[in-house]
């Protein structure tokens, strides 16, 4: 089957790949481009561990076709830090011990990043709503909610 060329920006840099027509963005990121920060959890859009931003909107990369990302900007958790400096969300997740096994963490950070970009001072309910599509089996969610609320009040939190 003929492969289709696709180009998009990934975390600020231009990237290109040859993909199958039905290939998911998750597969292209992980197997094509070597960005392993989005995870496979279900392949059905039910767990959120593959969450990425496409043009700033949170998307489930396991349900997003790679060809649909042509010319767009894809951002993953691997691109959240500003060089060596952690994003306030990352710092808050560490301060609040919001990661245990860490497998849901990239997706959680991505969902939180999308929330803060739109709503710089979210309520607790806003945070809960924003991460309600992301499953965590370790923490009981409370440290994650607390971390996102703390990050929202930290300077620089809206940095995209």
């Amino acid at each position: 089957m003929a492969k289709i060329p696709v180009q998009f920006r990934l975390n600020g840099s231009d990237r290109a790949a040859f993909v199958d027509a039905q290939e998911t963005l998750l597969n292209t990121l992980r197997r094509g481009l070597g960005d392993f920060s989005p995870k496979y959890g279900c392949g059905q859009g039910t767990c959120g561990v593959c969450s990425v931003l496409v043009d700033g909107e949170p998307q489930l990369s396991c349900l997003t076709l790679s060809v649909a990302c042509e010319g767009r900007h894809v951002e993953t958790a691997a691109g959240l830090a500003d060089g060596p400096n952690l994003h306030p969300l990352q710092a808050a997740f560490m301060d609040h011990f919001a990661a245990q096994c860490g497998f849901c963490t990239p997706g959680m950070l991505t969902a939180a990043r999308a929330l803060l970009a739109k709503n710089p001072s979210p309520s607790r309910d806003d945070v809960i709503e924003a991460i309600s599509g992301n499953i965590c089996r370790c923490t009981g969610y409370e440290p994650i909610v607390a971390a996102i609320l703390a990050a929202a009040s930290a300077p620089g939190a809206r940095r995209a």
Binding site: G41, C47, F97
Partner: protein, 580 residues
Amino acid sequence: MLEMRKDIFADERDDNLNVIGKGLQRQDAPGHVTGRTRYFDDHAFEGMLHLKVVRSPHAHARIRSIDISAAERAPGVKRVLRGADVPVNKNTLLSLINFGKDDEPTLAVDKVRYKGEPVVAILADSEAQALAARKLVRIDYEPLPTVFDVEEALKPGAPVVNETYPGNYFEYHERFDHQKLRFGDVERAFSGADIVMEHRYQMSPIEHAPTETNGTIAAPEQNGRFVVHSCAQGLFFALGTTAKIVDVESNRLHFIGGTVGGGFGGKVDSLTEPLAVLGAMLTGKPVRFVLDREEEMLYGSPRGAERIYIKDGVMRDGRIVARYIRSYFDAGAYTRLSSYAAIKCTAHVPGPYWIPNVASDIYVAYTNRCPSTAMRGFGVTAVDFALEVQMDRLAEAASMDPMEFRILNAYRDGDMKPHRRAAKNTALVECVQVAAEKANWPLSEQAKRQSSLTGGAGERGQIPATTVDTKGQIGRPETRTGTATQTLPAGTARIPLSKQPVMEGARDGRAAPTQVPRYEPARPAAAATPAYAPPPYQPASPPAAPSYQPAPPPVSAPASPAQTQHGAVRFSSVFGTRRR
């Protein structure tokens, strides 16, 4: 919210430590928040094949024939595996510690015993090609009668689930269809109790549901070795299991793991490692075998359901005088770890309470469902649910406050447990007191004054005269109901205290680990202990002086040939000894 109560048991601790007790940041946190943490699936290999298995659609069926010819010709398919391709196609997980009989194939051969059992494995260039070829495998099944209820499975005439255990029960000590616990005389105590109460409890199966599903990537390395990126909860456990099944020496496998996206017990079964390694061996290519979410949910081996019957005898003043527990572990179609859990459950009976007469009969039953496995609290979570609901009922029946009822019956330092070892280092009373205080649940002054340090031992530290029986003997069906009883005199103990820990590592002239506390003195193992005439059990002596004497390394200490373990099969010495 977490609060430390340093004032309680303060005289048992030295709190002047440098980093112990400090809430320091986790070593793995920076990797987690930057997405740099590498899990088993986060590794790239050129030319990697993808493995998918064909699973049984039947809960119990004979396999008449398997036709893989169409699948072998499908686009992208590099190899199709059947049971005959698996070098050692029968295993049981605990064979690594010589416990139990091999009873589970990697790929089913003559029969499938649960819905979802792997029968054929397909290796293809892409996942999509492997999934497409899966549909081309033709398997002719002859459905067989099924059994799903643990008590139905143990009745005469029930369908035989697993021919290795034809009675549908795990065989303990090669003598009984269950594990017994006998301490005192529960029947006599029930007849003297003011209140006798029996209830049935049912734990649900539970799916571990880690966000990372089970999976493995195996790839040829150099020198005939294979690198294996594994999600296993026990790295060498998975390595040993894989080495046995693919029949290679253990040093040909290089396992890498240790960073796992949640386990909760669901990653101890080596569900994917053996087939991934076998695929890499047979194709010479890297092989990725990852369960999808539906496979993980349906066939990733759940927490087993347990059915528990508890009968208690209580006096009007709230003292529990007898407890009898009959429990059934639902192993599913294969043993995996259920046999171990039933023993752990036996050790846990009767919960954290001192009761003078205790007995239990714990069965592991085979049914036509996905084999169950360990999960967080294995062997204990279900019985704790049953025990603590029963305790709530008993407190009500005795017209007592539930907290006061727990404190009254709580075990304390020096109390003899039914498995005939004295309790030490107990703290249940204090936990109840503190929880009551924080919850604003009023306690009487008398309950507040109680302590785990006092009130135990003495008469409560003795082994009572005990009634034993032969109910459930294997081999002669008529004995399964008959009960030949016999009474062991008070103080009878048969298992040597062999719990001296080995802490080996210091070399001559080097600082020795002198300050690691010892907790039980070494005791000579009782030689040739005749039945019913053992050396009397002695409560734990004071700790030995802290002078370290290097114990011999375990490899040089052969296990006593007379010592049987769990009763099923003799343990050799330590983990890693492979039994063929």
